[in-house]
């Protein structure tokens, strides 16, 4: 089988992942598409390793590491999404606009105090 | 004796550093300032005394340590015929500024911070004239920026902040381009030592590279000596700076730019200089005419003097552009003369602004010779010296520059430089015109009686109505009593409204600061040999020819 096939599949998979990251509004689905991109890389690596008949199997070793890294990232990503949900009651990526140029200097966002005091409380009220 | 130059730098630096100790009382600060600057001046005089005048062309009293081998930057100081007068001028002007400061503290208060800033400024200025290593020159060239920014920004006039920002940004752009030029020289020759590079007369650098390097260095220096198109920072900086700031800005900072031409641009890049000299000459001459015309139509006294500096430095640059020993001598002499005379002009203008509360010629009315006879006559003396009356220092700089332009260096086109000479001649007439017109508007005519605190004119619009818009209406014709006129914003620069009736004429403090300048202007006017004998041999060395009829 010529090397081009897996590389093209991997590239397509990568593009799908990119689309997923850009298009989806829900943070968790964005994480899933990131996973997709990382697996595309794994496919690529394994294909090259076999094609090169590399005695050190560098490609497969790197694939293992990538898998581990992906796992770690997803774990951490979910934790962050959880924190966002707890603070903002929504994980819609588009709604997270509090930190921005206009936001910061425009109406100079109010200082952050613990829950129950000042601004944060009423922001929580909003869906 | 080489520790002398080090001491010359160390004394003001130590003075500034020890000023941060909190033990100083307000009154003692200005005396302390005078003491430190006096010490520096004494050291400068000692250097002048120790200097071997027979061999003014050679670099003397050199100290040479390695400071940063990585950049092969050496802490290399030295003084020769070209830099000695400038060092003494800087030390003198700084001392006079401190003396003036003692009697007349500026509006912004915080005298201790001002003395600290001025001492750091003095270190930067003297360092620039002593440095013999390209990068060291660049470092001292930039040390001056921040202190002068704060002098203008904190103790300046009404819209000082904008002027200070424009000053520092414009000058920084200039010095950044200067750095590029210096680095091109460094990459080509491999050494940063000015003495070595001058001796090589540009060997080892290809002609095209010399042109690029001269262009970069030239632009950097041209921003500092305001050459025509790059001068717009000067009028704002001068108008807003306090008296002390203006004197040092005009007296010394402009000289650092022209000194750069004499020390770096022309000796190290001769072919580049020869290629770009016509352009330098053309821009210089345009500067002369442009500066003079701009002065003719100015209303603000300090702004007019600033534009006159553009005109005078035009002559200095014309002197450089001729690439002849007499041209270079003219430029260096013009440097010193301009420093002294414009320093005096700004001192007097500052005194006038302090007394009248304004520097606007129309609101000054006229008749200063009647109300302030001594200040009026000093202003007249300074203007006459500045328009280049023979017998006073201003004349030799301009005359020798025109003499140089009469027969420029071999490679340059003679008819072009004859045109420059003719236009320069017309420039001298225009210079005489605007100074005399200013004198007749300010010192002559009948004085306007300033009525004690009358109805304060609320906004500047009403002032316009009272004085008549646009064209400066002859004050006598309106005969209006100028009430306690203050523009809309309270001028924090402590521009006290003119007190009723008698204005105090020149005070002892002011006289002590101004008389040395008057004396030196007369001395160099009557006896130009004092300076020419000093710069002559050094200039011959630069042009690498023994005699050379120029």
């Amino acid at each position: 089988m010529h090397i081009v096939y897996p590389v093209v599949v991997s590239a397509l998979l990568f593009s799908i992942g990119v689309y997923g990251v850009l298009a989806r509004r829900n943070a968790i689905l964005v994480l899933m598409s990131v996973e997709l991109m990382l697996n595309a890389v794994n496919l690529n690596l394994v294909a090259f390793d076999v094609w090169l008949r590399d005695r050190l199997h560098g490609g497969q070793v790197l694939t293992l590491f990538v898998i581990v890294i992906a796992a770690a990232e997803i774990g951490l990503g979910l934790a962050i999404v959880l924190a966002v949900y707890r603070n903002r009651q929504s994980i819609d990526v588009d709604r997270l606009r509090d930190l921005s140029e206009t936001g910061a200097s425009g109406e100079a966002g109010p200082p952050e105090e613990p829950v129950g005091v000042g601004e944060d409380a009423d922001r929580e009220a909003r869906p | 004796m080489s520790w002398l130059l080090l001491a010359l730098l160390a004394v003001p630096l130590a003075g500034a550093a020890s000023l941060t100790a909190p033990t100083f009382r307000e009154r003692a600060v200005s005396l302390y300032g005078i003491a430190v600057s006096a010490a520096t001046f004494v050291l400068a005089v000692v250097v002048a005394a120790v200097f071997d005048y027979g061999d003014a062309g050679r670099m003397q009293l050199q100290t040479d340590w390695s400071w940063i081998p990585g950049l092969d930057l050496r802490f290399h100081l030295g003084v020769d015929g070209i830099s000695l007068p400038l060092v003494v001028l800087t030390a003198l002007l700084s001392l006079l500024c401190f003396v003036h400061l003692a009697g007349h503290p500026p509006g912004g208060g915080r005298l201790r911070a001002l003395v600290f800033t001025l001492l750091v400024l003095e270190v930067g200025m003297i360092g620039t004239f002593l440095a013999l290593d390209l990068l060291l020159f660049f470092v001292f060239f930039e040390v001056v920026l921040i202190p002068m920014y704060f002098v203008i920004a904190i103790w300046g006039g009404r819209d000082r902040r904008a002027a200070a920002v424009k000053f520092i940004l414009y000058t920084l752009l200039g010095s950044a381009v200067l750095l590029l030029g210096l680095l091109v020289i460094w990459t080509q020759t491999g050494t940063l030592d000015m003495v070595e590079l001058t001796a090589r007369h540009g060997a080892g650098i290809a002609r095209s590279v010399q042109i690029v390097a001269f262009l970069a260095v030239g632009i950097g220096l041209a921003v500092k000596t305001p050459m025509w198109p790059l001068h717009t920072w000067l009028p704002d900086a001068h108008t807003e700076a306090p008296t002390v700031g203006s004197v040092l800005l005009a007296g010394v900072l402009l000289k650092m730019g022209s000194y750069g031409f004499a020390r770096i641009a022309i000796p190290i890049l001769p072919e580049g200089a020869a290629a770009l000299a016509p352009w330098l000459g053309a821009l210089a001459v345009v500067g002369i005419i442009y500066g003079s015309l701009a002065c003719l139509a100015q209303r603000d006294l300090k702004r007019m003097i600033a534009y006159s500096s553009v005109g005078h430095m035009g002559f200095v640059l014309l002197g450089f552009a001729t690439l002849t020993p007499v041209g270079m001598n003219a430029a260096l002499f013009g440097n010193i003369a301009h420093g002294l005379i414009t320093g005096l002009l700004f001192f007097v203008a500052g005194g006038i602004k302090e007394r009248y509360g304004t520097a606007d010629m129309v609101r000054l009315g006229g008749g200063m010779l009647r109300r302030l006879p001594y200040i009026g006559s000093l202003l007249t003396f300074a203007c006459v010296a500045s328009l280049g009356l023979p017998g006073l220092a201003g004349f030799w700089g301009e005359m020798l520059a025109l003499l140089g332009a009469f027969r420029p260096a071999a490679g340059l086109s003679r008819p072009l430089f004859l045109v420059f000479m003719a236009v320069g001649g017309i420039g001298t007439v225009l210079t005489a015109a605007y100074f005399l017109v200013m004198l007749s508007r300010v010192t002559h005519g009948r004085a306007r009686e300033t009525v004690p605190v009358g109805p304060a004119l609320a906004s500047s619009e009403e002032v316009r109505v009272v004085l008549g818009p646009g064209e400066p209406v002859e004050p006598d014709a309106t005969g209006t009593a100028v009430a306690d006129v203050e523009d809309s914003g309270p001028a924090p620069s402590g521009a006290r409204p003119p007190r009723a009736g008698r204005l105090a004429d020149v005070t002892a403090g002011e006289l002590a600061a101004w008389v040395p300048l008057v004396a030196l202007t007369i001395l160099f006017g009557v006896w130009p040999k004092a300076l020419l004998a000093l710069t002559g041999p050094a200039v011959q060395a630069i042009f690498g020819l023994g005699g050379g009829a120029g």
Partner: protein
Amino acid sequence: MISVVVLIVLLPFAAAVAGLLGSRWPRGGSRTKENDRAAARRAAWFAIAPITAALLLTLWLASWSARALPRGSASYPGAEFWAGLLPGSTEGTLTMVETGSVPISFTLRADGLSILIGVLVVVVALAVQVYSVGYMRDDPRHPSYSAFISLFTSAMLLVVYAGDLIVLYAGWEIMGLCSYLLIGHWWEDRANSRAAVKAFLVTRLGDVGFLFGIFTLGFAAGSFRIDDVLSADIPRGTLITATMLLLAGVAGKSAQVPLQTWLPDAMAGPTPISALIHAATMVAAGIFIVARLYPAFLGAQPTLDVLAVVAAIGMLGAALAALAQDDLKRVLAYSTISQLAYMAAGLAAGSDKAAIFHLLTHGAFKALLFLGAGAVIHHVGSNLMTHMGGLRTSVPITFAAMTVGFAALMGLPPASGFFSKDAVIAAIEHSHSPAQPFLYGAALLTVGVTGAYAMRAWLRTFFGPARVEALPEPPPGTAHVFDGREAPRSMLWPIGVLAVPALLLGFAGVTEVDWGSALVSLIVALLGAGVVYAFWRGAPHQDPARMLGPFRTACERAFYVDEAYRAVFARPVLRLARGVVRTDGQVVDGAVRGAGRLTMSLSGFVRLAQKGNAQLYVTGLLAGLLLITVAAVVLG
């Protein structure tokens, strides 16, 4: 011997410094009445004592020079007349200034020509200083006034005794400055101040040309010393350009045609100043320079032709203008321009001897006329001749002196003017330059017109019905009014002293008089005077100038040359200046501020991308990456 010359030049300078600094010294600035008076008295002593010493030294120098043996053949061909009269000459160099190209030597040089002019300068200066004591009695700024006169005298002597062209130029410019300071003496009235500025600027314009002429000569001869310049063989082309440029300076200083507009306005200054500076000495400096460098001018014939044409136009125009003036001082001012043109004509005709002789006599009788006019103005309180009339009885001594002056001006036989003007006319007659007929015709015509305006001024001032109405007290700072009696003794003595040379100096040249041309010019002068007398006889009240008919206003406004200059030069320069300030504000400064605004707007634009949306960031990231990859591959 050279130390005497140095002393002569330095004494008035010392007087000036002492006068400026010393006169008010102990009491400082408090300007009370008695302080002013005491300061004035001390200033007068500071001024008069040194100038008298300088006069004695000059006379002693002249006597030494007359007795000295001629030192070999004079250094340059044209010098034999002076060598004959005052053979002794001395020269000394203080120091050589190495400029890098042509060296400048601080040299003073006294020879026949310079000593003669030196005597004239010192005599007139002393007369004016003494005269001013009375004329400016209760003027608050008498110290500075007398100090500036001393400074002027020192500058003029520096020009006269200068041995190096640059030193000469220095004296030349300082003279210009002193004339500015003294014209603007009563600066309370802005008109005087403007006249002073105009005088300085016009002369300064001429001096620029003068400086360039000096450069040309200096470079050609390799040194600025006058001896080297005259003895060096300079190619004809360079000589012509150099002398043409020098002519610019001469025209500026001696108020010749292109640059003569400043002299009539210079009458705004006090009358003694007009006498000293604008009649006898400064304006004569231009002629002196041409005489000093005469061998160079002889070598450049085209320059002399230009000088001839300029002189011809100048003398006739000025004479006609003098005929139509109502202000007595302006009549004398235009007369000075005309007489200077005479001297220039003499030089153009090839005889510097006649020109200098006329310069000396003119210096004497014109100073006399001005001082007399000062006394008359004091008596009447106004400059205008319409306010004068029938004064021969009320101011008899002034009348006698001014009659001598006018006689000399018209060139009537006993007075000195007759001999000197005749010498010039004879020189013009025998010269063989291409412009000779034109010059000779103009000269004769001018003799007639001179006779006319001299007679008119004389008649309208001293004859005709006396006007008695009292004049209002002039505001402080204008001409000074006396209580009707004749001028005080301190003013009459100088007038008397000057009347002697005005009358007798002519006889020094009586040996070479060309009686034929003298007779012709005498007849023409008397003809002119007769015509004016006839018109005046008809209607003593009216102004004889009406005979000019339609040209009267043109003549009075000096053919509108002044207005033309203002329209062509002054106003456009001011408009250009305002234009420059505007462009500086908008274009040059605009570019700088524009760059700042551009960066700010760029910053605004780039900030748009920072909306806070994470996915927008990732999109930007990927787009940028794609762009870079494509560029790298394509261009790579």
